[in-house]
């Protein structure tokens, strides 16, 4: 318990859309020192891209929300294909109108808020560390969405395809 308290107190606090204050390597190094092997193993496996309600016992509720999010994403895709109005069950309705970047940010904001909710009932527990990792993933992802790198990706896809075509 004291290790968990120490770890959580030593980690920099995270705010949405800020520059990540810590790298994953640093986070893992600090966590490995303070967590048991089992807890650290769980921390390593938890991944915002692969949230699965059966696997992550500690984050079951969030995994269910994540499944709902995927349901809404599927609805957004289907509605676009079928050219009909979107019926979102969980995500904000405004999501359908924004540009792809705004939409992705809104989705991440939604995930962040759900993680905040999850954190609210827990203090100095493994859940808080897991949530910290997921939030850190969101921040690193947000950080990667940068105009210059996006432009480079776009140009390289176009140029590669042109060369091969």
């Amino acid at each position: 318990m004291s290790n968990m308290v120490y770890l959580l107190c030593s980690l920099p606090s995270l705010n949405f859309a800020q520059v990540p204050p810590i790298s994953f390597d640093e986070f893992y190094q600090d966590s490995e020192k303070q967590l048991s092997k089992k807890d650290f193993g769980m921390l390593e496996t938890v991944d915002l891209r692969k949230m699965d309600s059966d696997e992550h016992g500690k984050l079951k509720h969030f995994a269910r929300l994540y499944a709902d999010l995927l349901g809404d994403m599927t609805e957004l895709r289907t509605a676009k294909t079928e050219k009909r109005p979107v019926r979102l069950a969980h995500l904000p309705k405004s999501l359908a109108d924004g540009n792809p970047l705004e939409r992705e940010k809104q989705i991440m904001r939604w995930q962040w808020d759900r993680l905040d909710d999850l954190e609210a009932g827990n203090t100095f527990s493994l859940v808080n560390v897991l949530v910290y990792k997921l939030k850190l993933q969101i921040l690193h992802r947000l950080q990667s969405m940068e105009t210059e790198s996006g432009k480079q990706v776009f140009e390289s896809v176009i140029n590669d395809a042109k060369r091969k075509g």
């Binding site: 939409r103 996006g150 896809v157 075509g165």
Partner: protein, 204 residues
């Protein structure tokens, strides 16, 4: 014309007249072909400009969200690549060229947890690549049409500067020579006749 040996015969004159007649009939055809090729090339160039404007417009429209493609969670290149550019042969201003039909893409359907922006990026990339492929096709068309235009221009020049003037000169020169020959024959005949008359007078 210099260096060309002309046969000063009626047959040659007839031949040159035929060449002149054919050349004068062909010249307007080649001139019309030249005009048609030039106008087609201009139309294609305008189409290329239009497509380039559309590409630029799309680029401008996507500027506000291009950053999302830097997303460390999605690799756009895995979702779309060009399989084949489909074209069909058509005759444009008498030249066989390849006309752009469409681009056949290899598109990997995004899964449920693929970020949503990937769908939009696939659409944008596909549209830009279609437009780029059409430009390439049109540039190839221009290249072929320009080759043909050079050929037609050379023919027009050949008719304007060589065949028609040469035939005209040849006809004139042969005409003069034949006239001279006629005059000479008449003069000779007159001299012979006079000589004969004088011989007859002496005899008496």
């Amino acid at each position: 014309m210099a260096g060309i040996k002309i046969k000063y015969t009626k047959t040659e004159r007839a031949k040159q007249k035929k060449i002149l007649k054919v050349s004068q009939r062909m010249l307007p055809l080649f001139e019309a072909m030249e005009k048609s090729l030039m106008s087609t090339i201009n139309t294609i160039a305008e189409r290329i400009d239009d497509i380039r404007q559309t590409i630029e417009k799309n680029r401008e429209a996507s500027k506000s969200w291009l950053a999302v493609m830097g997303d460390s969670w999605g690799s756009l290149a895995e979702f779309i690549s060009v399989n084949e550019v489909i074209t069909k042969p058509v005759d444009v201003a008498g030249v066989r060229v390849q006309q752009f039909e469409r681009v056949d893409f290899n598109i990997v359907e995004p899964s449920a947890n693929t970020p949503l922006w990937v769908d939009d990026a696939i659409e944008l990339v596909a549209e830009q690549l279609q437009l780029e492929a059409e430009i390439k096709c049109l540039l190839d068309q221009i290249e072929l049409l320009e080759e043909e235009l050079l050929d037609v221009r050379a023919r027009v020049k050949l008719f304007e500067n060589r065949r028609i003037p040469n035939a005209k000169i040849a006809i004139r020169k042969i005409g003069q020579k034949l006239q001279d020959d006629d005059r000479l024959t008449i003069a000779t005949a007159k001299v012979v006749k006079t000589d004969k008359q004088m011989e007859v007078a002496y005899d008496y």
